[in-house]
Structure formats: C-alpha cells, structure tokens
Amino acid sequence: MSMRSRFRSLACGLGAGVAVAAMAMGASPASAETFKIGIVTFLSGQAAEAFGVPAANGAKTMIAGLNAGKLPAPYDTKGFGGMEIQPIIIDEAGGATKQVQELRNLIQREQVDAVVGYISSGDCLAVGPVAEELKALLILFDCGTPRIFEDNQFEYVFRTAAHATMDNVGLVRYMKDHDVKVGTYSAINQDYAWGHDSRNDFVAAMGQLYPEAKFEADLLPKFGAGQYGTEISALLRQGSDLVYSSNWGGDLQALVLQAGPRGLFKRSQVVFSAADHVLPALGDKMPDGTIIGARGAYGLMSEETPLNTWFQTTYTAEHGVYPVQAPYRVSQALLGLKTAIEKAMSENGGKKPTTDEIRAALKGSTWNSPGGQITMANGNGHQAIQDIAFGRTRYDADKKMVVIEDIGRYPAKCVNPPADMKANDWIKAGFPGAACN
C-alpha cells in the first residue's frame, strides 16, 4: 500500500469513528453533556474549618453520589438529568473585591453553567449584582443576611437556605416552649455584621416573647479576639439568667473553653444560635445543658429519612466526621439545582436547559433535602425558607461525643417572615402570619 492510500484509509477510519461517536451522542443528547458548576467556599482563613472545608466536603460527597446515581429516590437519576456534574472549587478567602473577580472568571473564562457558593454575607451582597449583570445563574448556599432579597430584586440570583432571622426567632420560641425562665439576659457576639444582625434579631424576638426580660450586658468583642477572660468576668459579674451568643468557629470554641472552667454555664443558661459545627471538635469540653441551634434541622437534629441516612452515612465514611450545618446547606443547593434542571428538561424535550429555563424552574420551587423540605417562598421566589431545630447538649461518654436531647422543631412558616414582609418588621410586629404547630 502506498503512503497516500495508507493515509486515505486512516482518514476514512477516523472519519467513520467520529461519525459513529456523533451518532451515539445524538441518541441521548443530555447523557453525553456535562454541567459545569463553580463552587465557592472558604478553603482557608477563619471560616475554613467551621464552614468552608465541611461545605466543600459536602459538595464532593453529594456530587460524587449524584454522578454515580447512588442517591435515594427521587434523586436516583445520574448527575443533573443525565449530565455529569463537573465542579470547580474556588477559595472564598480574600474579600468581596476578589470574589467579584473570581465570579467573573468562573462565568466568562471557565464558562460554568452555574455558580453555587458563598458563606460570607459581604461576599453574597457583592457578587449578586455581578451575576445579574452577566445573566449567570448564581445559587447562594449559606450566607445569613436577610438583606440579599429584602434590598434587591434579582432574576438570576437565588438563595437556597433560609437567612439568619429564623435562627433567633426559633431559639426564642424554643426557650419559651421549654419553659426557660428569663428575667435578665446578656449577650456576647462578634463585632461585625453577623454578630450585630443576630443580636438585633434575638433582642427583638425577646421583646416579643419575653417582654418583661431585662437586657443587661451587651458585649461585642472583635472578630477573632481569642481572649475572652474579661468578657467572661463581665458576664459572671452580671449574673444574668441567660447568656446568648451567635459566635461561631474559633471564637465560639475559645469562648466555651475559657467560660466552661470559670462556671459561666453553671451560673447562667447559655444559648448558642449556631453552634452544632463545634460539637465534634469540642467533645466533652461543651458543657451539658447548653441550648444550641444548627441554622436548620441539620446534623444531630435532623430527621431520619432515606436521603438523610444516605447523606450522613456517606459523608461520615468519606470524611471521618458526621456532617454539620455547612455540608447540609451546600447539599440542599445542589439538590435544588438538580430539581430545577430536571424540571426544565422535562419541559424542553430533554435538552440541556438554558440558564433562563433553569431559573424559571427554580423560582418558587420546592424540594426535599437531607435537612428537610426547602421552599423558595420569599424574595419573589428566590429566597428559601426551611424548618429549624434546637436542642440541649449532653456529652455521652459511651459514644464519646456530644448528643442533642430535648429537640424542638419549628416549621418554616413559624420562624421565617412571610413573603411580603421584611424580617425585622415582622419580628417587631409580633410575627403576623406565623404558622406554628
């Protein structure tokens, strides 16, 4: 065979192969497609250990499970509607300006189909308008500020977890329902937006449900202070019936480590609005009887369902610790995205849906997550509401872990404002329209 004829037959063979491959792809357009998502979470810095890395781990577990089609029904189809999910995980550290650049990079250079991310409220507020300008699908999975959809109207931005108001309204309801006597109370919170907003919501909710209670010490040590000796003395001297904190991560751990031996937990009932994530690390250093929340019905306070059992078992096996709030919150974002994509595909004949088709399907939708049902009820269908749970800690020496007892659950419409009200106005008006059991 001459060189030319050998080349011709090779080219024919390659051509035939390409044609066969193209035909095979044509048989199932979506199954050969991929869906590329950017996942933005703290991989370094103060929030990495508490939220960022667990969230990244949660995303890895969920995406691997979805791509393998291993989740229980109704999520047992592979990937997103047959499309393999391709994640790109980005570090959220570095501030809002950097995150705006990273978001543009993900959308314009990496050409992701959607971005799922952001723990910091400051980052969420900064990136929302950029996604809107680029007409790119942005799913905020964690940040707490109510302002995202109270101060803005977005078409391409969604938040698939409830904002921080339910943490504090739910906590005060739990205290009332469990007959916690509060004549006086004090607070210690981190001196930045989260700490201030949480303290304001808590004090406002106390004003409604404990109108006679007197607010005493109001401490706002700086974020990352580390040393709380003086603040603990001030709280001990005050001797309030109740001490409230929305601290998280290292600040919360340091507060517990330093306040425990000094008897704060014996002198006052201590309540933490978002503390489940420090339980695995603190172990027996977390005093018994502390009332804690998890920013949802998550982790040790989640309800047993096939989906939750799969998530807890798989996550624990892969990462050596049970999942707490951040893995739950990123998981519910991914399952919301899957639900919306597959709904859009059922309406467009099974093709990979456009961004506009996905956002139309996600708006106002409802789906089940490991932490319960998520409903995009607020923010014109862009802001989720969900159930929340609280309980009391007890160190179980046999299990060598903190367990949660006396769990109280609150339905989403009991602890979240209605669609037509701002959170703060709703609390101050006495929770109109709240539907509690």
Binding site: L220, T230, S233, R237, Q253, Q258, R262, G263
Partner: protein
Amino acid sequence: MELLLTVLVDGLIYAAWLFIVALGLTLVFGVLKILNIAHGSFYAIGAYAAASLVTWFTTIGLAPEWSLVAMLLAAAGVAAVLGPLLERGLLRLFYGRDEVLLVLVTYALFLMLEDGVKLIWGVDPYYVSEPYSLFGNVEMGPLFYVGYDFALMGLAVICGLGVWFGLNRTTLGKIVLAVIHNPEMSASMGVNVNKVYVLAFICGVFLAALGGAFTAPQISVQPGISVGVIILSFAVVIIGGLGSIEGAAVGALIVGLSRAAAVHLVPDAELFIVYLVMAAVLVFRPEGLFVRAQARKI
C-alpha cells in the same frame, strides 16, 4: 471595690499575655531595628508546635504536668529552627536598607509563614485544653478564675525580669547594649555583631513562640490567630516606646487595664479604647513613654 478588683485582675491577666509577645517584638526592634510583622506568625507557630507536642506527650502516656515542659520545648524548638534560619538566610540581606523595606520584607515573610502553617497543620483547629486545668481554680469574690491565668502572669514576670537581667546585669547583655548603641564601634572593638543579631532574633522568636505555646490551651489553635496578636503587640510597643522593655511592660499594663475597664464599664468602646490610648500617648510622647537614650555619633 469588687468592680475595681475585677478590672485589675482581668487587666493584669490580659497584660501578661500581651507582654510576653510584645517583649520579643520590642527586643528585636531594639537590637536589629526591625519592625517585625512576622512576629505574629512566630506566635501562631509556637501555638501549633505546642499543640502537636502536648498531644504527642499525652499519646505516649506522660502525666499532664509534662505538657508544660512540652510547651516550653515547642517554643524553644521553634526559636532554634526559625531564628537562625530567617535571620541569617533572609533578614541580614536587608540590614542597612530603608526601614520601610524591612517592614515589607517581614510582611512578605508573614504571608509565607501563614501559608506554611496551613501547609503543615492544615485548616482544622487543634485543642490542647488539658493544661488549662493544671493549676485549678481561684475564687475571688463572686468570681472564679482559672489558676492557669495567674501562672501566665508569673511567666510574664519571669520573662520580663529575665530579659532585663540578661541585658543589664550580664556581660553578654552589656555587649548587646553596646551593639544597640553603636554596631560599627562594637565591631571595631572585636564584638561579633552578627552573633549578637542572631541571638537577639532567636530570643525574639522564642518569646513570641512562648506566648503562642502557653496560649494554646486557652484557645482553638487555627489559621488567623497571628493577626490579632501582632496588631495589639504593635500598640503595646508603640505606647511604651520601641525597643524599651520597661515600655513594653507599661504599655501592656495600660492596654490590659484600659481594655478591661472598657469591657466592664463601656463595652461599646472596647475596640476603640486601645487605639484611643495609643493616640493619646503619641500626642504627648510621639516616641512612646520610654524612649531609649540615643548615643550621638560625631
């Protein structure tokens, strides 16, 4: 009276912690004329090293009291490794240059050490809270204090007196003082100035690491702990006067007591008070409260 006592005790505990770290910072500035931003990283590395060593000591079955030895060894180890390495390998290349350049160099070093810490220890927190209960509790009026906090006050006094005595009452200390006043003249008199620089830097690293190591049982050791401490340490040495041991002691006391008073009396002013005090001191004493006498060169 009870409030006054509480403010005093809280202030002294906080001042003791701050003084151990600030002492190293002011020593390094006094001898090497370096405003060392990486000092906060040495504090963090000391805390991480102590957490690792205490955990190891516990794993091999040593009694809890040995954790104090572990913390001391951790600080010494950090100083022995990082001190000569950084002073000889990096900082000496910039002596004699503009002081601002050295600030930038140590800032770059700080950033690299922060990443180095994450590379070695990851982002998960470390706990070694067992030593915190070694000294029991102290009942003081209506309040409980942890004995460990008072032990830290003792450590601060030992460190302060040790450095002061070493500088002012030993031959080596007098050589160091000579180098501080005039390195060129000291070198011409046969003093090995390079050795003095290394020694001073090792001492500075040791004090920062010691502060971190003995703070580890009180906190969750994790990325970011270096930032807060360096800012406060700078405030202390600026109030006291750069390079002055007495100044660092008084600066730490002023910061500790004013902060404690603010937390108890005007909580909203807690963050502001340190900088208010610093500004007030600088208005009247722009070089800080204790300024080292400068030998005039002809």
